[in-house]
């Protein structure tokens, strides 16, 4: 492993594990940021893992940038050798695919899309080799996803599907970004899914919406009272495709503040996963059905 380091001005160190996305690179980045966290280095102010890279922010009046870089480099061997085993959790998230709101938004911005004559779902299904939108949705919600980064705006997760590379769903971003995206839209750009935590501009293809808030600055939603953001890097997410009736019912119980997502603690081993991807995923998703 060789991480490419760079000083980002006088307050950041940027570490790129690899140019391309892979779970191995994500885990290396996460091991590095976990090591920085554990080392409790004076002067470090922000520790941000990303998909295949990471960033450390520091106060150079407190810690010398070159000393900090040397310290980071000293964590590399341990990060590379560590058997990537993560104590994490799997979260089931209901998603109403082909919903009327993203559909309406998608029609409103057709002239900014690669293929103005298809919907985002039709276009993405076709370019990924699926005969129908239903088959595409089945693939999208059939296997779990890793939260490989949280950011852009508050609480927005980037998700990387836990399948082999040839099965990865890929889609370009809109030619020109939209000025609007419904809140809690499930979007896709490059090889990443994202959940728009707030309404706003966006360039990802739009496939559906979840009724479940994932960011609550007022901390009133019952499962967001401690942490205002639902997701953190390393979480595993399984989408559960739901229809209009279940969407409406879930929304009603969210509005009454009675609903929470199914969350189970789990352990993830990258080695086991690479040896048997679908077997590992099956075991993880079984947890959601158990107690």
């Amino acid at each position: 492993m060789s991480i490419r380091y760079n000083f980002g001005g006088d307050e950041h160190i940027f570490g790129e594990v690899s140019e391309e996305m892979s779970l191995t690179s994500f885990f290396t980045g996460l091991s590095m940021t976990n090591a920085v966290q554990a080392a409790n280095i004076k002067g470090v102010t922000e520790i941000c893992p990303a998909n295949a890279s990471f960033q450390i922010r520091f106060n150079p009046d407190i810690v010398d940038p070159h000393d900090l870089l040397k310290e980071l480099q000293s964590f590399e061997d341990a990060a590379a050798k560590s058997d990537p085993v993560l104590k994490t959790r799997i979260i089931e998230l209901p998603v109403y695919f082909q919903d009327p709101w993203t559909h309406e938004t998608c029609l409103r911005f057709r002239e900014r899309h690669q293929d103005p004559n298809s919907t985002d779902l039709e276009y993405s299904a076709r370019i990924n080799g699926y005969a129908t939108v239903d088959e595409f949705i089945a693939a999208y919600s059939g296997q779990p996803w890793f939260v490989s980064m949280v950011g852009f705006v508050a609480g927005l997760p980037f998700l990387y599907q836990m399948v082999e590379r040839k099965q990865q769903i890929q889609a370009p971003k809109y030619l020109r970004p939209r000025t609007d995206t419904p809140k809690l839209t499930i979007g896709h750009g490059g090889c990443f899914a994202a959940i728009y935590s707030v309404r706003g501009a966006g360039g990802y293809q739009m496939y559906g919406v979840t009724p479940a808030p994932i960011y609550d600055p007022t901390r009133k939603v019952r499962y967001l009272t401690d942490e205002m953001c639902l997701f953190k890097p390393g979480d595993i997410v399984k989408f559960k495709a739901i229809g209009r009736d279940e969407y409406d019912a879930t929304l009603e119980s969210i509005e009454a503040n009675r609903w929470e997502p199914t969350v189970r603690n789990c352990t993830f081993s990258l080695k086991d996963f690479n040896a048997d991807i679908y077997g590992t995923n099956a075991k993880l998703t079984e947890l959601l059905n158990g107690r």
């Binding site: 760079n6 000083f7 980002g8 001005g9 006088d10 307050e11 950041h12 940027f14 790129e16 690899s18 140019e19 391309e20 996305m21 892979s22 102010t45 922000e46 520790i47 941000c48 893992p49 990303a50 998909n51 295949a52 890279s53 990471f54 960033q55 922010r57 150079p60 009046d61 940038p65 980064m149 949280v150 950011g151 852009f152 705006v153 508050a154 609480g155 927005l156 980037f158 990387y160 590379r165 990865q168 890929q170 370009p172 971003k173 750009g189 490059g190 090889c191 990443f192 935590s197 707030v198 706003g200 960011y215 600055p217 205002m228 953001c229 953190k232 890097p233």
Partner: protein, 323 residues
């Protein structure tokens, strides 16, 4: 104990010195874009340097005081008026109950900092009173001010007539020079493109806010050809989504550089050419659209020297006010 917003100005929000520690969740540090002006405004009215104040962009608000207070306005030259009578900038002045504070036209700079003795007493959220508008977090109800808002004030003990002489204010030269440490994905562009990037004079675009400042008018970048890495996307300016440093200079599609500021989006999929040094971040806060600007490459060592120089400058100003 409050101040009422009669008219909010163009974009006025409650800010302090920021909310560090949550960038990994996509919540930016925020805080007054011009840190020097934020600190000095507070010190002039007898507040802690990081008390909550108002940041007004391009146009001032109109405020009505429900009780006597001491006020100071720093940053861009946006002349304050009490009941229509102009007051000096960078100097504390007293207001009485019922007085109205309004502002004349902006003469220079882009943002004014309005500190009131006692500070704006909105609740602390994640350790700060800063408004993060995109995430509807903190400040006054998580948003910019509206007419009719009533801002609670803390208990203050400021004195009128304290001022910071003009020799302590930072002078903005034209074209403004923004120093940056090249790096990050600098290797994605050709040598000729890199040379031109620094030679060109850019102009601040109308899309310039607390998230970032866009620049236009320079030569589009020429990229080094490549096979796109898996997951990056097909545009030559795409990368696998990564963290964005504060001050980072991203160039979507290689055309218009954007410098991310205090309310930065924390990450994304565009290559960055480097990062504007911490000492020049305040400068950006005071740039109006159409201002000519150039980027100048510096080393990390030069960036650290500039940072130290800025710190000494601020310390001298603070020492002056402490005497």
């Amino acid at each position: 104990m409050a101040v009422k917003v009669i008219s909010p100005g163009l974009s006025t929000s409650v800010q302090d010195l920021g909310r560090p520690g949550y960038y990994h969740l996509g919540i930016p540090e925020g805080g007054g874009m011009d840190r020097f002006a934020t600190t000095i405004a507070n010190l002039l009215v007898g507040n802690e340097p990081g008390a909550a104040l108002l940041e007004a962009t391009f146009m001032g608000p109109e405020l009505e005081f429900e009780q006597p207070a001491v006020v100071a306005v720093t940053g861009g030259d946006l002349p304050p008026k009490v009941n229509g009578v102009e007051q000096p900038g960078w100097e504390s002045f007293a207001v009485k109950a019922g007085d109205k504070l309004s502002f004349g036209y902006l003469k220079s700079g882009a943002r004014a900092y309005i500190a009131i003795s006692g500070g704006i007493d909105v609740p602390l959220v994640l350790g700060s009173r800063t408004t993060y508008v995109l995430g509807a977090l903190g400040g006054f109800e998580g948003r910019v001010l509206k007419a009719g808002d009533v801002l609670p004030l803390g208990k203050g003990s400021g004195k009128a007539g304290r001022s910071l002489p003009a020799s302590y204010h930072r002078q903005v030269t034209a074209p403004v020079e923004l120093r940056m440490v090249p790096g990050l994905y600098w290797h994605r562009i050709t040598e000729a493109a890199g040379k031109r990037f620094f030679e060109d004079t850019w102009k601040v675009a109308p899309e310039a806010d607390r998230i970032g400042y866009r620049f236009r008018g320079g030569t589009p970048l020429e990229f080094v050809p490549r096979e796109p890495p898996f997951g990056a996307g097909s545009d030559p300016s795409n990368i696998v989504d990564a963290c964005y440093p504060y001050g980072s200079v991203q160039v979507p599609s290689g055309t218009e550089p954007i410098v991310l500021h205090r309310d930065a989006v924390s990450g994304g999929g565009y290559m960055m050419l480097g990062v504007v040094i911490s000492a020049d971040m305040d400068l950006i806060a005071q740039l109006q659209p159409h201002t000519p600007a150039r980027f100048a490459p510096v080393t990390l060592e030069q960036a650290l020297a500039a940072r130290a120089e800025r710190r000494v400058h601020q310390q001298k100003a603070e020492d002056y006010l402490a005497t």
